[in-house]
């Protein structure tokens, strides 16, 4: 389908309701662009349709919406200037990091200005004595670790998109990663932020010290998905890297038994640095792609990693091996070297890509469940898979209950996509039903916005909305995300 501006649009447009754009803003588009070009350097404002198009989506590419304009500021002052301007003129704002969000966190609005952090990518300060680093919000997650790894340090939260995702986005989503069982999530690894309010006020929150007095603004802003303001600089904790790490693989004949093994490991007081679970479809997909030697007859497989000196690694791996042995494993393989560890991880690390090769597209879900509920949940998911006629492979952070079902579908088939979405929603509702929650690390974004009613009562949602309003009474900041649109007067046309 051709649009008036000569660009093409797919068979079906955005699949999710967005608040109606403000007609007065759309009407003033040219004037707004001209004003933005006065506030920022020429190359920092994008207004032509062709150049706006790649910004219409993020890691959840099924949803697309062209923005009004895109700005790429380089400094906190420029960010503040744009926010101040937008606030003064009632223009909505959508913050954007690397655009790797799997929940549509960076999906624009037709009448919104996107503020992208990608050019704010400098490391400002590294302090090993006090163990912190101050970085601009556009520094990638791995970029922080790279800056300090030469001196034996690292930044712990490691979402699997860490190569590309930016720390500003990590803060907004409270990102996790495989390391978080032992080291915590983003919120547990921050010391301070430079925060810009919708009015364009720049506020320093926290600093280089632990535990600020007063209300925990740092804690509230982390994970707030751009609802409360924008973050331009972040002070993170950096940790000394352990002496080494090594992995092992344990394959089991049933999901139940694998779950029992996980319980026994934790019950024995061992907290591995990673405890990854893969189900049979996932094992097969990974093996086909990576040829890592995964056992194809296993119903469930665990990859477990421990840290410490070589002797400590041996001690821990042997403890875990003894525990796993009680559950009649199909195979147990302890890596004896770094190369062998890499080989064990190779399949798991390529899991998403592997699924992408056996299916035209996939939806990566993100719900959390009490770990004891895994066998029941996986059984129900496999029933849903038969019902919807769509394949699914499951990756599970066994230590912390975060489940990533990968639902296979074909984006060129509208029906397939609709089914995939329904399947995903059913899984998330099941997660809430068994005592878990809708999202463990990807955030609500637009993807799970309309499922919030499954987890919260209407008065709880009203309370959260009111807290958001305390920061942003006009609902200019990312208004289409997190909270269902129904009944929100601030979003009515």
């Amino acid at each position: 389908m051709m649009l008036a501006d000569g660009t093409a649009q797919g068979h079906f447009g955005p699949m999710i309701r967005l608040p109606p754009p403000k007609p007065e803003i759309l009407a003033r588009r040219d004037a707004i662009l001209a004003d933005l070009r006065r506030l920022l350097p020429e190359d920092a404002v994008i207004g032509e349709a062709i150049r706006l198009r790649p910004y219409e989506t993020d890691g959840l590419s099924a949803y697309r919406q062209m923005p009004l304009a895109v700005t790429l500021p380089r400094t906190t002052e420029e960010v503040a200037a744009v926010l101040r301007y937008c606030h003064a003129h009632g223009i909505r704002v959508v913050p954007r990091g690397a655009g790797t969000s799997l929940s549509g966190g960076a999906l624009p609005l037709e009448d919104a200005v996107v503020i992208g952090l990608m050019r704010m990518n400098r490391i400002l300060e590294v302090n090993y004595a006090d163990r912190y680093a101050v970085v601009e919000a556009g520094v990638t997650n791995i970029g922080i670790t790279k800056a300090v790894e030469g001196d034996g340090f690292f930044y712990a939260p490691d979402p699997s998109s860490q190569l590309a995702c930016m720390i500003g986005g990590n803060v907004m989503m409270n990102s996790g990663g495989a390391h978080c069982l032992k080291y915590g999530v983003t919120a547990n690894n921050l010391l301070g932020l430079t925060f810009v309010t919708i009015e364009g006020e720049v506020v320093r929150i926290g600093g280089q010290h632990l535990d600020a007095a007063g209300y925990d603004w740092l804690g509230l802003i982390t994970g707030s998905e751009g609802q409360l303001g924008m973050v331009t600089e972040v002070t993170v904790r950096i940790l000394r890297s352990p002496e080494g790490a090594r992995a092992m693989l344990a394959a089991f004949s049933s999901v139940e038994v694998a779950g029992q093994a996980v319980d026994a490991i934790i019950g024995a007081g061992v907290i591995p640095v990673a405890l990854e679970f893969m189900d049979k479809p996932c094992i097969h997909a990974c093996e086909a792609f990576a040829h890592a030697g995964y056992p194809l007859d296993a119903e469930a497989m665990l990859i477990i990693e421990v840290e410490g000196s070589v002797a400590e690694q041996d001690m821990l791996l042997n403890r875990i091996k003894k525990i796993c042995a009680r559950f009649d494993p199909i195979s147990l393989k302890l890596a004896e070297s770094a190369e062998q560890s890499l080989a064990i991880w190779k399949g798991r690390k390529g899991a998403f890509g592997a699924v992408g090769r056996i299916s035209p597209d996939y939806l990566c879900m993100d719900g959390t469940i009490p770990t004891g509920e895994l066998p029941h949940v996986l059984k129900r998911i496999s029933e849903m898979s038969a019902h919807y006629g769509l394949g699914v492979a499951n990756v599970f952070h066994a230590g912390d209950g975060n489940l990533h079902p990968l639902i296979m579908f074909d984006a060129n088939d509208a029906e397939s996509f609709r089914k995939a979405e329904a399947f995903g929603a059913d899984i998330l509702k099941l997660c809430v039903e068994v005592g878990g929650c809708l999202t463990g690390e990807h955030g609500v974004g637009v993807e799970k916005r309309d499922l919030m009613v499954a987890q919260f009562t209407s008065s709880e949602l009203a309370l959260q909305r009111a807290v958001k309003s305390a920061f942003d009474p006009g609902w200019l900041l990312n208004p289409a995300k997190v909270f269902p649109l129904e009944g929100n007067e601030a979003l009515a046309a």
Binding site: G10, R53, P54, G59, A62, A164, G353, N412
Partner: protein
């Protein structure tokens, strides 16, 4: 990703191929992390993911390419770092090559640019013409400061003049000899692609290759009719001249394969190696499909050949530290990452790699001529990273990189020159005495 080509559009095999590639992309954005232009410019449009999206839009709409699309695709280095990073196996190279062709065929560039590109496409692949133009450039060099202005054309002209070497190496007859017999027992027979620009800029690369291979007992042929591999014109989107150049090579090599047979087609300019290894794809719908597939399967980088025939040094290590510069075409295009380092270490050198080894030096074929601003920024970044290694020299496997990185503190040589030196050849003249 979802695509929306019409059935009509998909009847064209190139479009069908583009659709297949676009479908494998899941828009995850990992590629942005390792893209040199995204690193420098911080704009989604200058990242592989953004370019994929622009290209998708451009091809689906069927409309002629516009200035915006040309600009952002032109800025792509084709370093293929994104392909190394992509978890989904998107064949970005084939997609961007197709897009370049579409742009070349449907977008009318401003005339100074058209003229410049036409000159480059005509001159660079022809050693005789290239040599003449370099002589002219050497003469014109002092006049570079007379080229005023910050406009693109002025920048490009200045860049061209500054890249032209001050002195040209003398012609090398050795490169023209058709057959170089093996020393001692013949263990194998290979064809050597002597190249085009490389023959003029630095004949010692071919000389060192021939010496080393023949010394190792390998007969080296330089078939008549062989010439430019077509990469230059191919990357400019000029499909027909590229195919013509490739076809000439296919015929030359075909004759040798049918004749006395070849164990390998050796390429010592990795930028060419990537293209020749892609001949099988480029000719998939052509009558020469089978021959092209055969040729691609026989093609090896010189380091692969040396490994295959068990390269060994024959003299003591000179106690030098080499900063190994991994050319994009070698590490990303051909997935040859550790082999050159292993060979250099085997030869007795201490080998170090700079940080950000996956980031392009900015040479990228004609990129350093057509996108001087970005190319210079990348050059400075690469040389800065190398300077921290405390090395004695830089080694690379591609003439483009060598030219780009020359003129700074360290001498730049080809990997094969060092390997030849350690196995009975002369010390490279570029190294200090």
């Amino acid at each position: 990703m979802q695509t929306s080509f019409t059935a009509e559009q998909l009847r064209d095999p190139d479009t069908a191929e583009a659709n297949k590639i676009l479908r494998t992309c899941v828009h995850c954005g990992m590629c942005t992390a390792t893209c040199p232009t995204f690193l420098l410019l911080g704009d989604e449009l200058d990242s592989p993911r953004g370019r994929i999206y622009l290209i998708k839009d451009m091809l689906e709409s069927g409309r002629p390419a516009s200035e915006q699309e040309a600009r952002h695709v032109d800025r792509c280095l084709s370093c293929l770092s994104c392909m190394t990073t992509c978890p989904s196996g998107v064949h970005y190279m084939h997609l961007v090559d197709h897009a370049r062709r579409h742009i070349e065929e449907t977008y009318v560039r401003p005339w100074p640019e058209r003229a410049l590109r036409a000159v480059l496409a005509r001159v660079l692949p022809r050693p005789g013409l290239f040599r003449l133009s370099l002589r002219a450039a050497a003469l014109a060099r002092p006049l570079a400061r007379l080229i005023r202005g910050r406009g693109t054309t002025a920048q490009r002209l200045r860049a061209m003049l500054s890249l032209a070497p001050a002195t040209l190496p003398p012609r090398s007859p050795m490169q023209e000899v058709a057959l170089h017999p093996a020393e001692g027992t013949r263990r194998g027979r290979v064809a050597l692609l002597t190249g085009c620009a490389q023959k003029v800029l630095d004949p010692t690369i071919n000389e060192a290759t021939i010496r080393l291979l023949t010394r190792m007992g390998i007969e080296v042929v330089v078939p008549r009719g062989q010439g430019c591999c077509g990469a230059l014109t191919h990357h400019m989107g000029r499909h027909d001249p590229a195919m013509a150049a490739a076809r000439a090579n296919l015929q030359a090599w075909g004759a040798e394969i049918e004749g006395q047979g070849l164990d390998a087609i050796v390429i010592n300019a990795s930028g060419c190696g990537t293209t020749v290894k892609d001949y099988g794809f480029m000719f998939r719908e052509e009558p020469e499909a089978a021959l092209a597939a055969k040729v691609s399967s026989l093609t090896m980088d010189v380091t692969e050949v040396l490994e295959r025939f068990d390269y060994r040094p024959s003299r003591e290590a000179p106690g030098l530290t080499v900063a190994y510069h991994s050319a994009c075409s070698l590490q990303h295009g051909q997935k040859i990452t550790t082999l050159p380092k292993e060979l250099l270490a085997r030869a007795g050198f201490a080998v170090k790699e700079p940080t950000e080894p996956h980031i392009c030096c900015g040479s990228a074929g004609t990129y350093n001529l057509l996108q001087p601003g970005i190319a210079q920024a990348l050059r400075a970044r690469k040389l800065d990273n190398i300077s921290r290694l405390d090395a004695d020299l830089i080694a690379a496997g591609n003439i483009g990189c060598m030219t780009q990185l020359s003129g700074d503190a360290l001498p730049v040589v080809h990997t094969v020159e060092l390997l030849d030196w350690m196995a009975g050849g002369p010390k490279p003249a570029k190294l200090p005495a």
